[in-house]
Symmetry: C2
Subunit: 669 residues, 2 copies
């Protein structure tokens, strides 16, 4: 259910989900509402008046009973439940938005609902990789004393039409006792993938179905799969109901490997130490076990009902999970051990699931384009569509895929950890208290902060960094080189140990007990990171003799993309300057694809096909890339023709601000 929220006096409207937080709605609409505490309700600056409509919000200390009755609320404590009109009083707002015309309703809408992602791949049949069949067998007699296995296979054929079933020794070892203790009522878990650890019992044909588990009684109602995205930083997982295809729960934990290095390079270095590889394998496995436990606990499910796992990770994570050598991923010429991984027994590598569970690892493309990307391309359906798509996954490495149903090319560029908070003075992950939304009043230079969970600010996460950089740029606080303009009269701008800095949150408002600043050094790091990604995209396009204009759409994948503000990302030159409606958010594309391979045998084969089809363009030691990288170390870019709309906006903004800043600033005070 959607509601339209109209902010006055700016007359800016936005459609949002019912129940949305009003401060976040304002941020998404591009309306400035002063807010210093991130949304926790303690600064009391974000007071608004609800003129019409249905909202929920308790009376707070910052609002008197009389005011409350008149419609005054703290925006950060208010949630909208119908179309409504919200007046921003003069003391809460900054000036009227300077360039309101640029607001893109579609984008804002999309941003708010970005959580609701779904597989975009189409045309797949529900055909889970493992399925269950209950059979009631008749006990053996002297007149019918075929082996237990033969009896089972007959039952599967007669009662379910299932043929060509192979088995494995583990099933046979438990079979006789199980049949006899369950009155010959048993449930077989079958796996539809090519799975013979056996020679066919059927003349001439190889089994297409493998018996992986037997359980007493009828357990056919319970069949679960776990899909895992093995990130360098975070291990995310979903519990799937293979009977319905539904996602029952989600869970995420930090990858425990992180204590041996933030990025893949330091992990690879650690893995070269004696027992290093084994240690890192056991650490990621412990994280996987933890998320599985959480999934089960959330849903009250039982571990024994899990029958399959699919995992996608970057090349290094996939290698470490399977115990493979990683050193050649790091050393030139950057060679992984394998692109296609065999199915393994999950319990063989230490994952605490039943013996029968097989783990599918997504195929890799190259040392820096891994299974998470293949999975994302699968989940997003890029490989099926005629439209030319640029798929971008932003992280320590930026991974980029270009193509459509006819061809796919990819590249990876090293962005460094800046957009994940690494190497940034107050950088942090998108945990509670991380500043993720930021507007600036271009006259007062006062901020509007929204934090994750609307807690007091602790630091700044990736989407916050993009917003801050973009807002400082459009408010002419920093110049196109990312340097602070030195003559601004705001106490928030000051010289610091790392060059000039802007105080995003004062110690009094912050949850960190000290000022939270963004420094010139931080900004340099961010420019290098965005420059690498943009140069990567440009190099990939040019290697196919294409330009950004040719793109039908850009898909932003990854948790990072979830809260990113496209306009602001374009403004700093992180994303190309193409119409906002061409941008799509995928969420965790890796999980989407993993889900699909569990639910459709055809999709599993598509995944293999995608990895085979994808051409990797090597950017390291690529002179074209280096040229483009140097050109991208500017906000948004040295070549204004690449960013026509952004350049025009920044010019217009800059003219207005430089002509009128001081008087307006005074008038507000």
């Amino acid at each position: 259910m959607k509601c339209t929220v109209t902010f006055e006096p700016d007359n800016v409207a936005i459609r949002v989900d019912r129940g949305a937080n009003l401060l976040e709605v304002g941020l998404a609409a591009g309306v400035h509402v002063n807010a210093s505490c991130g949304g926790q309700g303690v600064c009391g600056k974000c007071r608004v008046i609800i003129e019409t409509g249905d909202v929920e919000g308790e009376k707070t200390e910052k609002v008197s009973q009389e005011e409350y009755d008149q419609g005054w609320r703290q925006a950060c404590k208010t949630f909208v439940f119908s179309d409504c009109t919200v007046q921003i009083p003069v003391e809460s707002r900054g000036l009227r938005r300077l360039v309101a015309a640029k607001l893109d309703m579609g984008r804002a809408d999309r941003k708010i609902v970005a959580l609701k992602t779904r597989p975009l791949a189409e045309g797949w049949q529900f055909d889970p990789i493992t399925f269950k069949a209950h059979v009631q067998l008749s006990p053996p007699t002297l007149g019918d004393n075929v082996s237990d296995l033969t009896r089972l296979l007959k039952g599967l054929k007669q009662q379910h039409g299932i043929e060509n079933v192979s088995t494995d020794i583990r099933c046979l070892q438990t079979m006789p006792k199980l049949f006899r203790s369950s009155d010959w009522s048993v449930t077989a878990t079958l796996m539809a993938a090519p799975e013979p650890e056996t020679i066919s019992s059927v003349q001439g044909g190889f089994p297409a179905i493998n018996l992986v588990r037997l359980e007493p009684g009828d357990t056919s109602g319970k069949n679960l799969a776990v899909v895992i995205d093995i990130g360098t930083t975070t291990v995310c997982a979903e519990l799937l109901d293979l009977k319905t295809g539904a996602v029952m729960a989600e869970s995420a934990e930090y990858n425990s490997q992180a204590e041996y290095g933030e990025d893949v390079i330091t992990r690879i270095v650690y893995a070269q130490r004696p027992e290093g590889k084994e240690k890192l394998q056991s650490l990621v496995v412990s994280s996987i076990n933890q998320v599985i436990d959480e999934l089960l606990e959330q849903t009250g499910s039982q571990k024994k009902d899990i029958s399959f796992m699919a995992a996608a990770g970057n090349t290094t994570m996939t290698h470490l999970l399977l115990g493979l050598e990683t050193r050649h991923i790091r050393e030139t010429p950057y060679v992984p051990v394998a692109n296609f991984m065999p199915l393994v027994w999950a319990s063989d590598i230490g994952i605490d699931v039943p013996d029968c569970v097989r783990l599918y690892s997504f195929p890799l493309v190259a040392s820096y384009v891994g299974g998470d990307i293949v999975s994302g391309i699968l989940g997003s359906g890029v490989f099926q569509k005629e439209e030319l798509t640029l798929y971008v996954d932003i992280g320590t490495n930026g991974e980029i895929v270009l193509g459509n149903r006819d061809w796919l090319a990819c590249a990876a560029c090293s962005m460094g950890p800046a957009f994940e908070g690494g190497g940034i003075k107050h950088g942090m992950r998108a945990d509670l208290g991380a500043i993720e939304g930021f507007n600036i009043n271009p006259v007062t230079l006062e901020p509007m902060l929204v934090t994750v969970g609307r807690r007091r600010p602790q630091g700044i996460c990736g989407s916050g960094l993009i917003s801050i950089l973009a807002e400082l740029l459009s408010a002419c606080v920093i110049d196109r080189n990312g340097k602070f303009v030195r003559d601004l009269s705001s106490e928030r701008i000051r010289p610091g140990r790392f060059g000039y800095e802007y105080v995003v949150a004062w110690a009094g408002d912050s949850g960190a007990g000290r000022d939270i600043e963004i420094t010139e050094v931080d900004i340099e790091n961010l420019i290098r990171a965005k420059g690498a990604l943009f140069a990567g995209c440009l190099t990939l396009l040019e290697s196919m003799s294409l330009s950004f204009d040719a793109l039908d759409r850009i898909i932003i994948a990854g948790a990072f993309g979830r809260y990113i503000n496209i306009e602001k990302a374009k403004r700093i030159g992180l994303l190309p300057d193409i119409p906002a409606e061409k941008f799509h958010f995928l969420g965790n594309g890796s999980l989407l694809g993993s889900r699909l391979v569990c639910l459709s045998g055809q999709m599993l084969h598509e995944a293999e096909g995608i990895a085979t089809m994808m051409t990797n363009i090597e950017l390291s030691d690529n002179p074209a890339f280096m040229d483009k990288y140097m050109g991208a170390l500017f906000l948004p870019h040295t070549d204004a023709r690449l960013f026509p709309d952004v350049s025009e906006y920044l010019e217009a903004n800059s003219r207005m601000i430089l002509s009128g800043r001081i008087p307006k600033y005074d008038s507000v005070l």
Copy 2:
């Protein structure tokens, strides 16, 4: 090379292999030469005169120099190397053979050469299950930085035309180091069976070839397989060269499980004890490891060159090897866990071979018709031929297969261990010193003994028991019920603790330091055993509405059949009374079939097909079988029409002996 040996004055000729032992030749020809010490040369009774021809034989103490120069030799110490004529002097021989007309040259010939068995299955292509391919890869560069696996797969395709190769995690774990330490010159071992532990890396198709091992350099010249016959008593093995198909060595050891029971029933009982199953598995594995070590030592081969194993055993042995529950094999209604066994990693069950080695276990038919029988049917080619064949494997269980290329039926009957020496006072296995050949002088009742290895007699093995029973019967020492005729004047016949008995060897001649007798109780046990086998054959035939006349051939399989005397086995009713030329010896049929599955993928599928095709006729609780069994407890059978030739022979013999025994006996003395 063959020679013809003619014995005078009987004028009996036989074709034998060059180098054959003269005493054994006489035994095979049905000529009686007194011999009490089994062939060791100590009794000095088997002196003969070489009239013409080339023999080798040292002078012995029992022959003077003058006699030696005249051609006198001890038969047991003499070997023939050309056609020759041998005179049996009056003191060495018994009487002239009474019924010489019955001698079958073909049979005798075949008996002597029975060792030279070969697969009788035809029309198979040499297409070993594992094969090696050496590839020289080019090292990766930035311009060609595909994964190590992809590089290998490209090499296999370009250099050998091998495609659709899947892999497993173990290969990937060693791959990077191996490639780089071997200058990218490596040898891949590939397995042609359906082996994906992986999802295909090839769109649309499943891999038919699995990469199982990588080795540095070019090792493609060395590729070995081990085939194993897992007998209840003995574990036999052969080392195969998969490059040529040649058998490089043979080896055999007792099955170490024997200390926990002689037969499968006691093993099953033991397996039901705590850890009993695991103990028995580790014992048979230790025997397997021993025979493998012997095979390698004999040939100077290296364990690392082994790439595949195939094993055949009866149902219990196969279950115990793979760690499967056996109790239901023993308990009515006699149900095995499975008929078709998955391939397992040999090292997973404790076999000390390289990690990559897979073990194929022959499929089973029923609780008492196992993989050794399926393997024998494969090796003998019964499943390919139009001729109606009865395949008989004699052991503690008699296993019988009837059929041809269109159909196969089988049955198993419990014979007990009598023919393996169990439950027989002086019974023993066919070890050194076991009496395996026996003739009797029907007048003097003096024996002609030949032992295994021509050592002093230690006891009596299966073929000896058949001979003794048959000879006592035709000499009218025992009657058709197996009871001793009480009025015979020979000191060799005497009452004993177990009824009357015949002294086969006096203490002075024996290696056991005491008399070796056969008792009436022994004979009862033997009659029960042979009765069970014969009744089984008859029941199986009748269940198919056939009689013995319909048989085109009978194949005698197993080590036991190797030295069996067909005429004598027919005489006691163990084998049916059909023409001797219809009998064929297969030797260890189980090893023959196992060899074939290693050398031909097609034969591996045939093995599965044979087990699927074979109908088991249950004999336990089968009234038709019980009737026939009761009728068979007679020598040769209560129904003389079933044994027309044997009956006629025994009648004629009996008439001659009863009419003339005493005078002739006296005349010799």
